[in-house]
Symmetry: D2
Subunit: 147 residues, 4 copies
């Protein structure tokens, strides 16, 4: 059972905008990096296209609170914590820490809620229970970590 994962990324030139800081939309891409790493660490992929019906995990909610900017070449730790787990959805919390700051400091907090969906033959998607072999590997993080 796992409830956390830490990914590290460096802010690239193409992640910045003309204000000289990481564009706010890229924090969401960084969250996804951590989510994908979390899934890989558990032995599965966020893409489950081989199943019948194929499953997917679209996002139904995403949010971010920005406290400090990230700049070019900053090394960033994205700390994923499982915040809520339901039969058909999971909410991940994310803490962004700028490891290039001295001392390292939290710069943002994010949130993503995914739902498990089955892709129907007619192209539509229907909410579906998260497969047991996946759900069984994921648990909610201890309350003190989520504070």
């Amino acid at each position: 059972m796992a409830y956390e994962f830490k990914a590290t990324r460096r802010v690239e030139f193409s992640d910045t905008d003309m204000a000289g800081i990481m564009h706010f939309s890229n924090f969401f891409r960084f969250m996804e990096t951590a989510e994908q790493g979390f899934c890989r660490s558990l032995g599965f992929s966020v893409v489950l296209g081989q199943r019948d019906p194929p499953l997917g995990f679209p996002r139904v909610h995403a949010a971010c609170d920005y406290k400090k900017p990230l700049r070019f070449e900053d090394l960033v730790e994205i700390h994923l914590l499982v915040q809520e787990k339901k039969s058909k959805s999971i909410t991940y919390g994310f803490r962004f820490r700028n490891l290039s700051a001295s001392p390292p400091e939290e710069v943002a907090r994010g949130l993503i809620t995914i739902v498990c969906v089955a892709h129907q033959p007619d192209g539509t998607m229907a909410a579906a229970p998260i497969p047991a072999e996946i759900a069984g590997k994921i648990e909610v993080a201890p309350a003190e970590l989520l504070a």
Copy 2:
């Protein structure tokens, strides 16, 4: 005094991901499109670098609720509504409508809170009042539109 703006964009191939739908992070770029159009419609830019000190409008909060996916070539209306106005910050709400659906339907709702900051000579940023000639042009949308 203005409280709304409608921008229209078509979902590009590069906006999609392997799930065949618009990547969730791009909804935030689309919100910014509407914000920039709103500012231009009022005669100013989201970039106020010529001032002394230079002003900027970094985001402190961004969120999105996704109801339905957007697909390649869908024509999307992004309806900006001023949701809250304070001396140093503004919160914009966004309604995404897929105009390619029949009938057109709401597919997502978003939120962005910006703060006005002055760029200090030492590279830091400090919250600052929104200039009167800007603040004076913006008002909160009627409650019935925000419901």
Copy 3:
């Protein structure tokens, strides 16, 4: 028979980088905007997933020469010209004109070569002739325009 198309886009905040100009990789996304508009103008889409086998148009070559930078809010015309047409591939040339400059000026030239491929059941792709109803609508631009 068509050999050209003009698309117009405005440089968005998220298109810029910390150098204050449009990131060089985004010129390729803008080229694709014009390509998609060209296809739509002829009554088909760059995505032909409904065929059997499904066809696609991956890129085998892309290039860009940058002469002048594009900046935030610049209005850009992307002029597509069909440069070469073979049975299984098409090469598009692109001229970028900054309409916000006075007078408007060419800022970049690009090139994209696409090949028609059939998606095989085993997941691989094989080059395939461009369908006659598409090829029949496209011709190479007059030499004087390509100079």
Copy 4:
């Protein structure tokens, strides 16, 4: 004196498009990742804003030949090789190798030419010699590697 650098990146979900492969424009962002790593390995940054006048390295040419697609979660090696060195410009070649293929295989080759420019007080840019302490660390790769 250095003439090469190897960077490694994993293809993210947000790097893919609806064709299920990495979007062609992202190969250019990956090239930049390797370029930035190369500069850092030599002790400087692609951003030299602290100089007087501030220097920058805009791209004047970029190109890519695509042989095979990259897919989600593929691990990619981007091998930078210095291909040409002039007083005011450098051309980098890039080889993309898919390390997740068995055996690993080359999937694309790229090229970027940068010029050194000085940012003038009036906002324009003028070509300038690459500073000696940078130029002195970079040499052209052996011919057999560039073949």
